[in-house]
Symmetry: C2
Subunit: 143 residues, 2 copies
């Protein structure tokens, strides 16, 4: 059993919630799916393996994974929720190709620093931020 399963179990325990076969399977497929997966994409994977698991359960499990800290929800311009693994992944922002949809994860420490300064400047207690850069990637510029 992978580390993530242990973390999920601990989370469930701590909240008086229960394990289930479905959650195990969905977590497994989530972990082996591509980054920035949508609910529908993951559901299709799940259904291949176990057609008895419902769409709503995938939805709910992804939300649960976000609560547990294993997963992070990402909403780009199209407004559709995408989910990315959190464990073993540092904070990062996203660079998105508006032609092919490719998503690159980026970090810039100077930007991070200046974001903190903006919070301070306006007297805000910082919680989180979102930064997305939209452009056309190398491949799509040529094509």
């Amino acid at each position: 059993m992978g580390n993530e399963h242990i973390l999920l179990d601990e989370f469930l325990q701590s909240r008086n919630r229960k394990r289930s076969r479905q959650r195990e399977e969905i977590l497994n497929l989530f972990l082996s799916s591509r980054r920035h997966v949508t609910v529908l994409e993951l559901y299709r994977e799940v259904r291949k393996q176990n057609p008895h698991i419902g769409f709503v359960t995938v939805y709910r499990t992804l939300k649960l994974l976000c609560e547990s800290g294993l997963c992070r929800e990402l909403k780009l311009e199209d407004g559709i929720a995408r989910y990315e693994k959190q464990v073993g992944h540092e904070h990062h922002d996203h660079l998105v190709c508006t032609k092919c949809g490719r998503v690159v994860e980026v970090v810039d420490n100077t930007i991070e620093l200046h974001q903190e300064r903006l919070f301070k400047k306006y007297g805000f207690y910082p919680q989180r931020h979102r930064m997305e850069l939209y452009g056309v990637c190398k491949g799509c510029k040529k094509g």
Copy 2:
């Protein structure tokens, strides 16, 4: 007639589209409404003045104003479209209070510069970006 009405008319002309009483009224109320107005908020204003103007017309007119460059659509974490005047407003990002919903417009040239660098670094042609900072404002920290 304000400058914005002239700009809208020119835009409509250039696209073989037509002026209308509704568009005039909606533009007026949009211009005098608070920044970051939602469709519903603006619709309520519109209805006060002219109950015959429909909800969908307000929707469509705001989209039209965005096309014309008079207006910019903004989607924060809640996913509800908000609209802000573009004319006479420089580019800016948003600092949002997660308690009271207050929105502050911010600019940081260093951040802008480093965003450009990120585009360059990954070989992207830059189109636009979105940056939102979420925290708790001074007033809400005390309360």
